[in-house]
């Protein structure tokens, strides 16, 4: 209270004035060193470089430049975030949960509390936010939305999610990661580029030394068998 009152009147302290001067010098320095980039250059930056760019643009007072970088980041991931969430939460909340996940992930990256590379962090937050949705739904059984929401939107996914619980929201990703961890590093690499990267067995052999097409097929087959067993422990072999 005291600080607000001091700032409001004529009684600003020497310390406050010093802080204002220091802040002004800091921003002047940042403004001199910050160079706004055109969109085609922004597209080439990594996620972490984009975050740094947004931070620098803010320090330099170049809000419009920071906005362009935010656009690249949000647009770059929003649809895939929604796609993943459509597997986890009801369709009428996909947009809201996606927004929450993007905001949380970008904010944490911005203030330095995120862990690891941005994309992986973002998808971890997507998982956590879908868990939060189910926890909040327990506290507030009926999620109410304004009638205008989603009206006329054609990109809100249809049908219901494949899972419908807090546990299900997390396990979808965890199971794949757990199964992957049962393979050695080289075989994991094969699965990453073949099963999730879309490379053919031949292309995998060109990329990973010592692999044959048969090897790739065997590794992929073992991965899928383990995944099936993990997803449905009581199912047919």
């Amino acid at each position: 209270m005291a600080s607000a009152r001091l700032a409001s009147g004529s009684g600003a302290t020497v310390r406050q004035l010093r802080l204002l001067v220091a802040d002004s010098i800091l921003r002047s320095t940042a403004a001199v060193s910050f160079q706004p980039l055109p969109d085609h250059e922004l597209q080439k930056l990594s996620d972490d470089e984009l975050i740094e760019y947004i931070r620098n643009s803010r320090n330099a007072g170049e809000l419009a430049a920071g906005r362009r970088a935010l656009m690249v980041l949000v647009c770059g991931y929003e649809r895939d975030v929604k796609r993943r969430l459509s597997l986890r939460v009801p369709k009428n909340v996909v947009d809201d949960v996606a927004h929450d996940a993007l905001v949380k992930a970008i904010a944490a990256a911005f203030d330095g509390t995120s862990v690891g590379e941005f994309r992986s962090w973002l998808h971890t937050i997507v998982d956590r936010t879908s868990v939060d949705f189910y926890r909040r739904a327990e506290r507030r059984p009926k999620e109410s939305i304004l009638p205008s929401e989603h009206a006329g939107e054609d990109d809100v996914w249809g049908a219901e999610p494949s899972i419908d619980s807090e546990a299900g929201a997390v396990e979808l990703r965890i199971i794949v990661e757990e199964v992957l961890e049962t393979f050695n590093e080289k075989h994991r690499q094969v699965i990453e580029v073949h099963a999730f990267g879309g490379l053919t067995a031949g292309e995998v052999c060109d990329r990973i030394e010592g692999m044959t097409v048969d090897n790739v097929a065997q590794i992929a087959s073992r991965f899928r068998a383990k995944l099936r067993a993990r997803l449905d422990p009581g199912g047919a072999p």
């Binding site: 770059g76 597997l87 927004h99 109410s144 249809g158 990703r173 899928r224």
Partner: protein, 209 residues
């Protein structure tokens, strides 16, 4: 090639071609036994997919644009993530801002100064009011109205301080004074604290902590 392999390959192809690539449409084509496996594979594929290029045309008027607007306001402002969080919570609670303000003023026992509460709440949503000055009483009352805990609101208000910056060097006041135009046409440039003689209970609630 199993049905799951075929559906996954089709999904990846549609996704890479920039199509809708709605996972649920593909899951509906799989048998119940195969559905979870396909969901796990599509999910893992999407979690590894590289960032898409910015599509300016698709961006305009999209939910991504709203997210960018709110994040921009949060980054420029002094209220942490409130510009990105409060409007969403209000919408999820199905409340117009005027209704929320009416309830908030009533809960705080200042119904006779509803206009002043409205101004302060507007500044909270716009990121113009320093979050650290807002009292726990306001956050508790607000939390009850929108279905969130006071602590979560407080945490959201603390967000977005870069790691190498203390509170004093954080968002420049000049940025926060930037004018924003509300969808309804209301423009705010961020109110200054009232002169000392005019400080009242509402100022104390929203600026006094």
């Amino acid at each position: 090639m199993t049905d799951v392999d075929r559906l996954l390959a089709e999904y990846v192809a549609e996704h890479r071609a920039g199509g809708v690539a709605d996972p649920r449409a593909y899951l509906s084509r799989a048998s119940p036994q195969q559905s979870r496996e396909l969901a796990a594979l599509i999910d893992a594929y999407l979690a590894r997919a590289p960032r898409h290029a910015l599509d300016q045309d698709a961006f305009r008027g999209s939910s991504a644009e709203r997210t960018v607007d709110e994040l921009e306001r949060a980054i420029a402002g002094q209220a942490g993530l409130w510009p990105a969080v409060l409007p969403r919570l209000r919408n999820q609670a199905g409340l117009k801002r005027s209704t929320l303000v009416e309830r908030l003023a009533s809960a705080l026992g200042v119904s006779d100064r509803q206009d002043k509460v409205a101004n302060y709440y507007h500044e909270m949503e716009q990121g113009l009011l320093p979050a650290r000055g807002v009292s726990d009483r306001v956050l508790e009352a607000l939390g009850q109205i929108v279905g969130e805990t006071a602590q979560a609101l407080r945490d959201a208000g603390r967000g977005l301080t870069p790691p190498d910056e203390g509170p004093s060097a954080a968002p420049a006041v000049a940025f926060a004074r930037r004018a924003y135009v509300e969808p309804g046409g209301t423009e705010s440039s961020g109110a200054q604290p009232p002169p000392r003689g005019e400080w009242d209970e509402v100022d104390e609630l929203f600026r006094g902590s």
